[in-house]
């Protein structure tokens, strides 16, 4: 269940950001997950719903956007989409590549639904 550790990180960020922007409620969150991260979206969502209870993000929708894997061939510099983890350059057939996309695991943005009245204290 490494999804737990990931969601803990997400909640920490959301609570800090909500306090900073004086947000009382978060309605949705967009998270980018590269296909090289071995993260199970359904588990991430289930875990998020659990952790969000009683916080500013309670009831918020977690939108997970998968990021495909892309690589650049070290030999001929061709950049290509990697289908099903076959890291073979379509240009020269070489397999010595740099991964340029697919390792992402970050929060892109969230929707703030209400703003705290000035002077109010974030939950």
């Amino acid at each position: 269940m490494h999804e737990t550790a990931i969601v803990e990180g997400l909640m920490r960020i959301l609570e800090a950001q909500a306090a900073r922007h004086r947000v009382a409620r978060i309605s949705s969150v967009i998270v980018k997950v590269g296909r090289l991260r071995a993260v199970e979206p359904a588990q991430l969502v289930a875990c998020f719903e659990m952790f969000a209870e009683g916080t500013v993000a309670e009831g918020a929708q977690l939108k997970i956007e998968a990021v495909s894997v892309r690589a650049r061939c070290k030999a001929c510099a061709t950049e290509f989409e990697v289908p099903r983890f076959r890291f073979e350059c379509p240009g020269c057939g070489g397999g010595d590549v740099d991964v340029v996309q697919g390792q992402e695991l970050y929060i892109e943005s969230f929707e703030a639904a209400e703003r705290l009245p000035s002077g109010g204290v974030p939950k």
């Binding site: 490494h2 695991l105 929707e111 009245p117």
Partner: protein, 255 residues
């Protein structure tokens, strides 16, 4: 004077009430705290010039047996230490200590992988100044250990012949993260005709063509040579880097 009809909205507070729906861009890594701690761990290692190796595999592929065989086979001048990660029990650390090598057991309880904070806690039980190679045996699991940086310099991935030659294709993220792959328990090959070393190697090559793959048996010692040579080359490389940086090294993490 209620919140619904707007009768309490004045020019002074209108922006607070109406700026209702906003998109707030964040762009922060979810594992940021772990990654920061991992960098800190690496700074500990680099300050000592030691090589830290994350040993990963499915449950029971022979990680601890490999470490025991490695302890016996390496020359005494290469000083070793081991951190053992398991859900429960001190068994693996005790197996290592029997060979006279310092070992710290981390029991993760629920967590199916080690993280950088757990490893940092364990570091303080070791005298890193007296270590050339620190092996960190991760929890037996083919999915998530690769996602958590613990400060290692390289990853070793084990696949035992009893697990099936289709495992590289099923766990490509692990293969992608590996710097050395070992096909273990090869003494059992005569009894497991379903396992084709060639098929396993082909599957690895598709995912990571430059990954060195070594076949060995910790039980008989057969094939240990290339693995030991790789280890010693890695240590030499690390120590050369350490000596080059020694003069200009300014950042010393707390001990």
């Amino acid at each position: 004077m209620c919140d619904n009809c707007g009768c309490n909205v004045t020019d002074g507070n209108r922006h607070l009430v109406e700026a209702d729906h906003r998109t707030i861009e964040v762009l922060e890594d979810l594992l940021h705290e772990n990654d920061r701690q991992a960098d800190h761990n690496r700074a500990h290692f680099d300050a000592m010039g030691l090589l830290a190796i994350n040993v990963m595999s499915g449950p029971g592929s022979g990680k601890t047996s490999l470490l025991e065989a490695t302890i016996k086979a390496l020359p005494d001048r290469v000083r070793l230490a081991v951190i053992e990660g398991d859900l429960e029990t001190e068994n693996d650390a005790e197996r290592i200590r029997r060979h006279g090598v310092p070992a710290v057991q981390i029991t993760t309880g629920m967590a199916c992988h080690l993280d950088a904070h757990m490893v940092h806690d364990a570091l303080h039980e070791l005298d890193l100044a007296k270590v050339d190679i620190l092996f960190i045996e991760n929890v037996g699991n083919l999915v998530c250990p690769a996602s958590f940086d613990i400060g290692q310099h390289c990853n070793v991935l084990l696949l035992s012949v009893t697990e099936g030659d289709d495992k590289p294709a099923k766990y490509p993220v692990m293969v992608r993260a590996a710097d050395q792959m070992l096909i273990t328990k090869t003494d059992l090959l005569p009894y497991i005709e379903e396992f084709s070393v060639r098929r396993a190697r082909d599957a690895v090559r598709e995912i990571r063509s430059d990954l060195p793959v070594t076949e060995l048996s910790a039980k008989t010692g057969q094939g240990m040579g290339p693995w030991l040579a790789w280890l010693q080359a890695m240590v030499a490389e690390r120590q050369a880097k350490f000596r080059r940086h020694a003069q200009g090294y300014s950042y010393a993490p707390h001990r």
